[in-house]
C-alpha cells in the first residue's frame, strides 16, 4: 500500500513536472480558464441582481454553495483525470490498458496515475473566488460543526463526482469491444448513437449527475450551514447524507469497475 502510494506520487510528480515546463503559459492558461468559466457565474449574478432573492435564497448564499461545488468538481476533474471518459476510451481502444494489466501494481491506482491535468486549477481557482465572494455576502453563524463540515462536504462531492467518472469509464469496457467491428461498417460519427449503453440509461444518468448531487450534495448541506428554512420540511439528517452518498457511490463505482475489468479480460479489446 505504501509502495503503491509512493508510485502514484511519482507518476503524478512526473506529469506535473512536464506540464509545468512552460510556467508562464501555464499560469496564463489557469487564469484565463478561471475567467472564462467564471463568466457563467457573472451572467447569472447579473440576472440575479435584479431580485433580492430567488426562492428565499440570496445571491451570496447561492455563490457560497456554488463555489464549494465548483471547487470540488475542479479537484475531482484533476485527480480523476485518468477516468475521464474522453481519455479512458482511447486508452482501451488503442490497447494501452493492456500495459497496465502487465504491471505488478493495482490497476485502479495505475489509472488514477495515468493522467493528472493540472490545468484544472482554473476551475478550482474559479470555485475559490466564487466561494470567497459568497462568504463576503452572507452572515453565517459559525459553529465548530459547520467549519468542520465544509471540507467534509467538499471531499464528499469529490468522491461523488469521481464515482460518476469511474462509472462512465467502466461503460467503455462494453462499448469499445464492439467499436472495431462497428467501424468496419460505419465511418465513425454515428457510433455514439448506436450504443444502447449511451441511450438507455440517459434518464438514470440525469438523475445521478444532476438531481442527486444538486439535492443531497449541495442543497441540503447548504440548508444546514446557512440555516435556511426548508420548504420540503425534510428531517435534519438529510443535510449530512453527503459523506455517506459520496462513500457509497465510490464503493458501488469501484465494484462496477471490477466487473468491467473482468469483462475486459474475457472479451479482449
Amino acid at each position: 500500500m505504501k509502495r503503491a502510494i509512493g508510485l502514484l506520487a511519482k507518476l503524478l510528480r512526473i506529469q506535473v513536472r512536464s506540464q509545468l515546463q512552460y510556467p508562464t503559459s501555464f499560469i496564463l492558461e489557469v487564469f484565463s480558464s478561471a475567467i472564462i468559466l467564471g463568466f457563467f457565474f457573472v451572467s447569472f449574478a447579473l440576472t440575479f441582481s435584479r431580485f433580492d432573492q430567488i426562492g428565499g435564497w440570496t445571491l451570496g448564499e447561492v455563490a457560497f454553495i456554488w463555489g464549494i461545488t465548483e471547487f470540488s468538481f475542479g479537484v475531482m476533474d484533476m485527480v480523476f483525470s485518468g477516468f475521464d471518459y474522453d481519455s479512458f476510451g482511447p486508452m482501451i481502444r488503442n490497447g494501452r490498458f493492456d500495459q497496465l494489466l502487465l504491471r505488478p501494481v493495482n490497476i485502479t491506482l495505475q489509472v488514477l496515475g495515468s493522467r493528472f491535468v493540472l490545468r484544472r486549477m482554473g476551475k478550482i481557482l474559479e470555485g475559490v473566488i466564487i466561494f470567497i465572494y459568497g462568504l463576503s455576502l452572507v452572515n453565517i453563524d459559525w459553529t465548530i460543526g459547520k467549519i468542520i463540515y465544509i471540507p467534509i462536504l467538499s471531499f464528499s462531492q469529490v468522491l461523488f463526482f469521481g464515482s460518476l467518472f469511474i462509472f462512465g469509464a467502466t461503460t467503455t469496457f462494453w462499448t469499445m469491444e464492439r467499436l472495431e467491428i462497428l467501424n468496419v461498417f460505419t465511418y465513425g460519427g454515428s457510433e455514439i448513437m448506436s450504443y444502447p449503453m449511451h441511450i438507455f440509461p440517459r434518464a438514470i444518468r440525469l438523475i445521478f449527475t444532476f438531481l442527486v448531487p444538486a439535492i443531497f450534495m449541495s442543497y441540503f448541506p447548504a440548508v444546514y450551514i446557512l440555516e435556511k428554512s426548508d420548504p420540503l420540511n425534510a428531517p435534519g439528517v438529510v443535510s449530512f447524507l453527503a459523506p455517506l452518498l459520496g462513500l457509497g457511490m465510490l464503493a458501488l463505482a469501484l465494484r462496477f469497475w471490477k466487473v468491467g475489468i473482468r469483462n475486459y479480460q474475457s472479451t479482449g479489446s
Binding site: 509502495r3 509512493g6 508510485l7 511519482k10 507518476l11 512526473i14 512536464s18 488503442n94 490497447g95 494501452r96 493492456d98 500495459q99 494489466l101 502487465l102 504491471r103 505488478p104 501494481v105 493495482n106 464492439r178 467491428i181 462497428l182 461498417f185 460505419t186 454515428s190 448513437m193 448506436s194 450504443y195 444502447p196 441511450i199 438507455f200 473482468r262 479480460q265 474475457s266 472479451t267 479482449g268
Partner: protein
C-alpha cells in the same frame, strides 16, 4: 528433464462476435436480440516449454498467436483449459505473476506515450522494485547493446518504430524476468534493425538463459533463432518440433540454377521442372527424394553445353508459405493432429 516453465493443457479461447443492427431502431433491437458468431481463436491447444528454451510460435494471420500470448500473460481469461506458467495461473494471480515475466507487443508500446524514455524506465524501476545496482547494471548493458543513448530524452511518441521497439525490449527486461513473451518484435523493421533485435534476443537466451516465446511473420527470425517451432493455424497446433525436421519433410524441393553456354528454347530435363527462364539462365526445381542432383547434372551435361551451375535449397520462407497455403500439415503424418477428424 526439469519441470516445464510453461504448461498448457487443452487451452481454448472462443470469442463472441456480435452482429449489430444499425441505427437508432437497430440499437433498440440490439437490446432484445443480439446475434453473434463464435470465433474459436485458440482451439484446445497443449504444449510445454522448458526453462531456457527459445520457441518460435508461428502461423498465418489470424491463426491465434496473439490470443495465446494474451492468455499466457494474463491479459485474457481462457474459455477453458489450463495454463500454468512459472507456477502461477496468469489471470488469477496477476500481480505476483507479472513480476517475473516480460512482454513486448510489437504492435503497441508498453511505455508511457508522453514521457521521455528515461522517465518511463525510471518509473519501471519503481513499479518492479528493482534494486538500484541491478537497475543500473541492466540499463547500462541494454543502453549499449540496443543503442538507446541517442533517444533517452525523447518522448516515446516521437520515437521511430525501430527505436521504440528497442526501447520496449529494454523496458520489458530491466527487472530480470525469467520468461519473456515477444509478439512480433521485428514487425515493420528494416533489415539492420531486425538483425540488431535478433542478436539481442539471441544474447538474452544464450547469455542470460531467459526462456523466450517468440511470434513472428518473418521466418528468417525463426530460422536464425529457434531450434523449436510451434505452428498454429485456425487455433490448432499443426506442428511442434525441430525446424529442421519440418524442413526435411516439406523443404524437399531444391533448385538447380543453370547458366547455359548457348540459348536453348526448351532445355527440358526429365523430372525437373523449369520454374524460370531468362535467356541462357534457367532455374529448375526438383524433388529431393525422387532424384539426386548429381543425376540431373549428368543428364544436363550429356545434352547441353553448360557454363555454370549451382544447386540451392528452396528458401525457408517458400517452404513455410507452402505449408500455410497448401495446408500441407493437415494431411501429413508429421502434423500434430488432423483437425477434420
Amino acid at each position: 528433464m526439469s519441470e516445464p516453465i510453461i504448461q498448457i493443457k487443452q487451452l481454448q479461447k472462443t470469442f463472441k462476435v456480435y452482429k449489430d443492427h444499425k441505427g437508432y431502431l437497430g440499437a433498440l433491437r440490439n437490446l432484445f436480440e443480439r446475434q453473434y458468431n463464435l470465433v474459436h481463436a485458440v482451439d484446445k491447444i497443449s504444449f510445454d516449454v522448458q526453462p531456457g528454451e527459445l520457441v518460435g510460435y508461428i502461423g498465418p494471420n489470424g491463426a491465434g498467436k496473439s490470443t495465446t500470448i494474451k492468455m499466457l500473460t494474463g491479459l485474457l481469461v481462457p474459455t477453458s483449459g489450463e495454463v500454468l506458467v512459472n507456477g502461477y495461473i496468469p489471470w488469477k494471480q496477476r500481480k505476483a505473476y507479472v513480476k517475473n515475466i516480460g512482454a513486448v507487443f510489437g504492435q503497441r508500446t508498453t511505455l508511457w506515450w508522453d514521457l521521455p524514455l528515461r522517465d518511463s524506465l525510471d518509473l519501471l524501476q519503481h513499479i518492479y522494485e528493482i534494486p538500484d545496482d541491478t537497475f543500473q547494471q541492466n540499463l547500462g548493458m541494454f543502453r549499449e547493446i540496443l543503442e538507446l543513448d541517442p533517444f533517452m530524452e525523447t518522448p516515446v511518441r516521437s520515437l521511430s518504430l525501430g527505436q521504440r521497439m528497442r526501447a520496449d525490449l529494454c523496458a520489458a527486461l530491466l527487472h530480470n524476468p525469467t520468461l519473456v513473451f515477444l509478439d512480433e518484435p521485428t514487425i515493420g523493421l528494416d533489415v539492420v534493425a531486425k538483425q540488431r533485435i535478433r542478436e539481442f534476443i539471441q544474447f538474452l537466451n544464450h547469455e542470460r538463459k531467459t526462456t523466450i516465446l517468440l511470434t513472428t511473420h518473418d521466418i528468417s527470425d525463426v530460422a536464425k533463432l529457434c531450434k523449436r517451432v510451434v505452428i498454429i493455424d485456425h487455433g490448432k497446433i499443426l506442428f511442434d518440433g525441430h525446424l529442421n525436421s519440418l524442413l526435411e519433410f516439406f523443404g524437399g524441393r531444391r533448385l538447380l540454377v543453370v547458366d547455359f553456354a548457348e540459348f536453348y528454347p526448351e532445355p527440358s530435363l526429365g523430372e525437373a521442372e523449369i520454374i524460370q527462364q531468362d535467356r541462357n539462365k534457367v532455374i529448375y526445381s526438383f524433388e529431393r527424394s525422387s532424384i539426386s542432383a548429381s543425376k540431373l547434372i549428368n543428364q544436363l551435361s550429356e545434352n547441353y553445353r553448360i557454363r555454370d551451375l549451382e544447386v540451392r535449397d528452396q528458401p525457408i520462407e517458400d517452404t513455410i508459405r507452402r505449408i500455410y497455403e497448401e495446408q500441407l500439415l493437415y494431411n501429413h503424418p508429421n502434423g500434430k493432429e488432423n483437425p477434420s477428424s
